[in-house]
Symmetry: C2
């Protein structure tokens, strides 16, 4: 039979409640008692039963990762970080796909939270940006941490300074002699698209280049949208010599168009992206991109969430470092 708290209590010569206190790190236990109980629990290989704990304590020791149709890689990396943190803190994890556009989006989150008695939520873009949801969660007192939310103030979670990253990237292109640098924008529903566009504009400004509306094309983060945007750009009377796509998938689309038109990369056209996906290393030539420490972001966001659950005042919005990943898809601007 399973070892129960009662068995541990008997073996340690204390009451069940004291064992419970030790397990839950409550401060009101004498150090000596605590040490003894811990030793006994360990030697008996005792682990509390999650359902009993949850039933009696009205907590689930469960957090949920909420997502809506992100790229598989992105989500996977976040997930790996989240899993790491959950293991460390002995929390369980529920993985929950959601439909952000569904009319009963709010309702479905609410019933998930209620029926699973979740202790907290980890939100990923674009769910991070549903004001209605955040308001509702605040009203319910449900703790949540955001990964790369649009609104970085006040909440808890992690962000990356995407604006500065892109700005650096554009300056890099300019330093290679490019003067016609195009941008393929991201999906309009994602905050990232705005930051990356803003970074593009700041980068141009810093490099002393003019912003030209014809060099900015709408995309939606997909390979195909990158393909059609690149076609438009390369069909211009004065096509760009460099393209910054708001993510790697669209950059791959742009490269594909260039290849099929016989343009050499980076000889005739430089291309760069954002995300440093595994794919970016595997295409030819390898893609210059911005690295974002996604897994670490998942781990730290979860850490902040779990801290907040214990002590509501302790969670913060963490700023993560980015890094330009310079590879072979960018090079000196072609001479006229």
């Amino acid at each position: 039979m399973r070892v129960r708290i009662e068995d541990v209590a008997k073996a340690a010569g204390v009451s069940m409640k004291t064992v419970s206190r030790v397990l839950n790190n409550e401060p009101t236990v004498k150090d000596e008692t605590r040490a003894r109980v811990q030793a006994v629990a360990k030697s008996m290989n005792y682990r509390p039963d999650p359902s009993a704990r949850s039933l009696a304590g009205r907590k689930s020791y469960l957090v949920a990762l909420l997502y809506d149709n992100p790229s598989a890689n992105y989500l996977m990396e976040i997930l790996m970080g989240v899993v790491e943190a959950c293991q460390e803190y002995h929390y369980g994890l529920v993985v929950q796909p959601l439909n952000y556009h569904s009319p009963d989006f709010l309702q479905s989150v609410e019933s998930l939270v209620t029926f699973s008695k979740l202790d907290g939520l980890i939100l990923t873009p674009p769910i991070t940006d549903s004001v209605a949801l955040l308001d509702r969660l605040d009203a319910l007192g449900m703790p949540y941490a955001c990964v790369s939310p649009k609104n970085r103030e006040g909440g808890i979670g992690v962000t990356l300074d995407e604006h500065d990253a892109v700005c650096d990237m554009i300056e890099h292109l300019a330093s290679l002699g490019h003067t016609r640098i195009a941008h393929i924008k991201g999906h309009p529903a994602h905050g990232a698209s705005e930051w990356r566009l803003a970074g593009y504009r700041s980068g141009l400004r810093r490099a002393g280049l003019r912003y030209e509306p014809e060099l900015v094309i709408d995309g939606e983060f997909s390979f195909d949208s990158g393909v059609s945007a690149a076609r438009q750009l390369l069909d211009l009377e004065r096509p760009p010599t460099a393209i910054f796509a708001a993510n790697d998938d669209m950059a791959a689309g742009a490269m594909s168009v260039a290849h099929s038109r016989g343009l050499s990369i980076p000889g005739d056209l430089s291309v760069c992206g954002f995300d440093n996906t595994p794919m970016s290393r595997q295409i030819f030539p390898a893609l210059t991109t911005v690295h974002q420490p996604t897994q670490e972001m998942g781990r730290l966001a979860t850490g902040e969430l779990l801290k907040t659950i214990k002590d509501p005042a302790s969670g913060q919005m963490l700023r993560m470092p980015y890094a330009l990943q310079l590879r072979q898809s960018t090079g000196p601007a072609p001479r006229r």
Copy 2:
């Protein structure tokens, strides 16, 4: 306050136990009573409390997905399928990374199973192939379903006829006039590597081509291993005109080598892979590969597992269909 089984019982004019019977689909309830209880439960928006259920019933209504460092995409697709099935059957999911090579691998699975009271496991390669683990699980009476296990007989789960898929692919290359078709093998620890090699040999045989050991190079499913294997192949005195890599990542590595040597694909060299990863569509030229319905496999494996949990005799090993995905990376063999 939350609606409890007692509230439903009162409203329906029956005992708690009868409501419980209805919820758990026990047969010994009069149809009329069952219908009434179901209607009342629905109208009150009743959902049983998982921890109470689990505590009293000594079941967790939880299954775990066990994995060890697979490709992010593969795992993500499996995961999405697993999540779908779990939602449908109202089961919870635990996501658990494992270290197959760790000395306490068995122990860590066992304590996971014990302490989380898991009702079943979904195993992914290469964990599917640990004989020691499978034996232990059988001994414990712990139900599990495998995705693409080495041993397809007797167990429950899903498989794909990888041998036949590769065989078809090789025949396709042969039909394009290729006579020197190389193979980059997969990681030796994965069953898939063996099947794909066997399919390669069968394909050659069917096409009337000789098996030439110098055309078969070890790989380990990574891009880099594809790169070094392709270098060896292209350095041969009589290099191949086509390369079948055991997965898409290695195929991308091979393409990268070809590009950097100025070889045209498929003009000078045809390349094909296996998995139909998103990346395979995004490289240039788009990669010919084998599609395997990974998400569906996750969903169906989970379905078989959950069926088995209800009725131990009902689980099967399902065979999934594959499909060649012909794209631009393969073409007619170059003339001598």
